[in-house]
């Protein structure tokens, strides 16, 4: 059972990482907690749904996913980014209320995103029109039950995150983003066009969220609330990793995703640990999986508010 859970933990973590990295970027450069981040993921998912329906499978498949799905993935990323940029220009840019005021505004924006999606698509659930796959045969004897789709999700998340890393470390834009996150005034003084960097941050952060939403839809299902349901877990991941640190957000996302999926192990600890009687276990049921993540979040805030990475981008 443990390997099984670790596998699904990896997939769930990938999705959370895509969300938490974007949120951390926006937190560090935009300087406020964006409560609309979850619903940005929902936007990505539903745009991909529409695109995939229009484009179809386009022939071949890669890792069990039709080429058309990857086109839809790109569409989801782009739509989420565009919506975020529009929101930034129309709403956030002209506001002078400080980060708390922006936090509250982002809640309103989250409601607006969700309401529009529900008005258009209804409240019922749906899925992408992609065949669910059987587990990969040669891994089953080892107790690992993953499908090609799961592998695709993990690999795509790795690709996107690596791309972000390359961007941050080796490009001008990345350097400017790191400078802004460290000290925005100094960055502006040294000639960096901070508002342009901000726009790019929104593009990248929301784009990653959109990708996360698309994969969430593939892993589970599409409902208008899907992003909001995940939002608090993503916040927990960002705080665990350290607000403002993208690499921390990656670590935090990974940990929170794994802990969330590995909760069933708690009540079975006895049978897994060598010297402990088999019947023993920590009696926390899986209905508390989310609650555990929230408690971890609060503990981190109390004990080490800078999180794992603590501080810089």
């Amino acid at each position: 059972m443990v390997l099984d859970l670790i596998a699904s933990g990896l997939v769930y973590s990938s999705i959370i990482v895509l969300g938490s990295v974007g949120l951390s970027l926006i937190y560090s450069i935009g300087d406020f907690a964006n409560f609309a981040h979850g619903d940005t993921m929902t936007i990505g998912a539903y745009s991909a749904l529409v695109t995939f329906g229009a484009v179809g499978t386009l022939g071949g498949t890669l890792l069990g996913l039709p080429y058309g799905f990857f086109v839809a993935l790109v569409a989801g990323i782009v739509t989420a980014a565009v919506v975020a940029v529009i929101t930034e220009k129309l709403v956030y840019q002209g506001m002078d209320v400080g980060s708390i005021g922006l936090l509250i505004t982002s809640i309103g924006i989250a409601f607006i995103y969700r309401a529009i999606i529900q008005l258009r698509f209804g409240a019922d659930f749906t899925r992408y029109d992609i065949q669910v796959l059987r587990p990969i045969d040669f891994l089953v004897p080892y107790g690992i039950r993953v499908t090609l789709h799961d592998v695709a999700i993990v690999i795509s998340a790795l690709v996107l995150v690596t791309g972000l890393h390359v961007l941050l470390q080796y490009t001008d834009l990345g350097r400017m983003m790191r400078a802004m996150s460290d000290n925005p005034d100094l960055a502006r003084v040294s000639g960096i066009r901070t508002d342009r960097v901000r726009l790019w941050t929104w593009v990248i952060g929301a784009g990653l969220a959109g990708a996360g939403g698309v994969f969430l839809g593939l892993f589970s299902r599409l409902v208008p609330r899907m992003g909001f349901n995940l939002l608090l877990l993503i916040f927990a991941a960002v705080i665990l990793g350290g607000i403002g640190s993208v690499y921390g957000a990656m670590a935090g996302g990974f940990l929170i995703g794994m802990i969330n999926q590995l909760t069933p192990i708690l009540s079975e600890l006895g049978s897994l640990l060598p010297f402990v009687p088999d019947a023993w276990g920590i009696p926390i049921g899986i209905e508390y999986a989310d609650a555990i993540a929230f408690v971890i979040m609060v503990v981190v805030l109390l004990v080490r508010p800078t999180g794992i990475a603590g501080g810089e981008l």
């Binding site: 099984d4 499908t147 299902r221 899907m226 899986i286």
Partner: protein, 420 residues
């Protein structure tokens, strides 16, 4: 200017609230005041030819909105049938209010219908907790008749004044226990959705089941990942897995089982089955699953007619939930026809009798209406609904019909019937 802008905004929201004073829907009929505990409105002007208005609390939005949609469709077909014949020569009108699938929403909806619109007959609600809340805080102590269209929770049996057309979930749970035992299993892993519906059916099953429960845990509605539940059920060692949950959650679970390669024998309560599940799960993922579904008597003529009307209208087969709502509306119409006056007390006197076994069997609204219009009393007619004979017992519960379905080639096939 900023100030005028905000004042205008305030004005806009005020306008939304202003509509509380707008005139309500149609007028009530002329009656003299009756009933010991109700507010009454007496119209001195004539309302003799206007339609009768009753109320309905439905889950139009919220977690149970799928049921709300089915209920609205059943209600629309029923209204068409009832008004084709008429009630006392007049039309029947239904004011629908949304409960939002929450008890607080249901109570405020019922407050509006009972106190503002003054309806003497209320069809509501979907969720068992919502129906109970409405009954205890709004209806109890008044004369208004309440008939729940979808609630299957066991708690409603304790309130004889709260009627329902959907049978109690106890029959379902008992039937499931029997089926699983007959299939030769003595160990079951069960998971149920964590709300009033799920927990009451799960409790009833645990009582009825003689074997052992290898796993008995709730899961939350509306979650993105049920991998943990499926994993735990697998490690419980049982080969028979029972699911008491809704379509969205169950579809996710089926996909999870399929992509993990688990193939246990599946059993389910009513809400796990439906076209939405079939569409969103792969072929062969539920092969051999047995589901117990409250059902209409499918061989009966009135049911077949209902199905064909529904299919021509909505391009899909109806569920029993639409049939229940159809019958609730028909019963309302018949009660109004049979009663002396359009008040809660008078309707309450006749509503049970029109469906009880004494009297001539009538399988359509028209037939029952004609018996009453010809001078018959409420005990001279026995309305047989499209969902079953109904026959309210002393607790306000109907007779239940259950269908046992099996999934063969990714379709539901009926393999048996149970009458309670």
């Amino acid at each position: 200017m900023k100030l005028t802008g905000s004042a205008g905004l305030v004005g806009l929201t005020g306008l939304a609230g202003c509509s509380t004073t707008s005139n309500t829907t149609t007028s009530t009929s002329t009656t003299t005041s009756g009933g010991s505990g109700t507010d009454t409105t007496t119209s001195t002007s004539s309302g003799d030819s206007g339609p009768y208005t009753i109320g309905m609390v439905d889950a139009i939005t919220g977690s149970l909105s799928a049921f709300g949609e089915r209920n609205q469709r059943g209600k629309d077909i029923a209204l068409a049938d009832v008004n084709a014949v008429g009630v006392n020569g007049r039309d029947l009108n239904i004011t629908v209010e949304d409960s939002g699938s929450e008890s607080s929403g249901g109570v405020s909806a019922a407050q509006k219908l009972v106190n503002q619109d003054g309806v003497p007959f209320l069809i509501g609600a979907v969720g068992s907790g919502v129906s109970l809340a409405i009954y205890q805080s709004v209806i109890q102590g008044t004369d208004v008749v309440q008939v729940s269209q979808n609630s299957t929770g066991l708690g409603l049996t304790d309130f004889p004044g709260l009627l329902r057309v959907s049978p109690t979930g106890r029959t379902q749970s008992g039937a499931l226990a029997n089926i699983i035992a007959e299939d030769g299993y003595d160990e079951v892993a069960m998971t149920y959705v964590n709300n009033n519906y799920g927990s009451s059916l799960a409790d009833a099953f645990a009582n009825a089941w003689d074997g052992s429960l290898a796993y008995n845990n709730p899961h939350d509605q509306d979650q993105q990942s049920y991998a943990g539940v499926i994993s735990e059920m697998n490690s419980s060692g049982a080969d028979a897995w029972l699911f008491i949950t809704y379509q969205a959650e169950f579809a996710s679970m089926v996909n999870e089982m399929y992509s993990s390669g688990y193939e246990p024998q599946l059993y389910g309560a009513d809400s796990v089955s439906g076209d939405n599940v079939l569409e969103n799960t792969p072929e062969g993922s539920m092969e051999g699953m047995k589901v117990v579904v409250p059902s209409a008597p499918v061989e009966q003529d009135n049911y077949k007619e209902f199905v064909s009307t529904f299919e021509s209208e909505y391009n899909e087969a109806p569920t029993v939930w639409s049939a229940y709502t159809y019958d609730a509306v028909a019963i309302a119409g018949l009660s109004i026809q049979a009663a002396d006056e359009f008040t809660g007390a008078a309707l309450g006197d006749v509503v049970r009798d029109v469906t009880r076994p004494e009297g001539q069997k009538a399988t359509s609204y028209k037939a029952a209406h004609d018996i009453l219009a010809d001078g018959g009393g409420p005990s001279d007619v026995d309305y047989q609904g499209v969902s079953g004979p109904i026959d309210f017992d002393e607790n306000g519960d109907p007779v239940g019909f259950l269908q046992i379905q099996e999934v063969k080639n990714h379709e539901y096939e009926r393999i048996g019937f149970i009458e309670s």
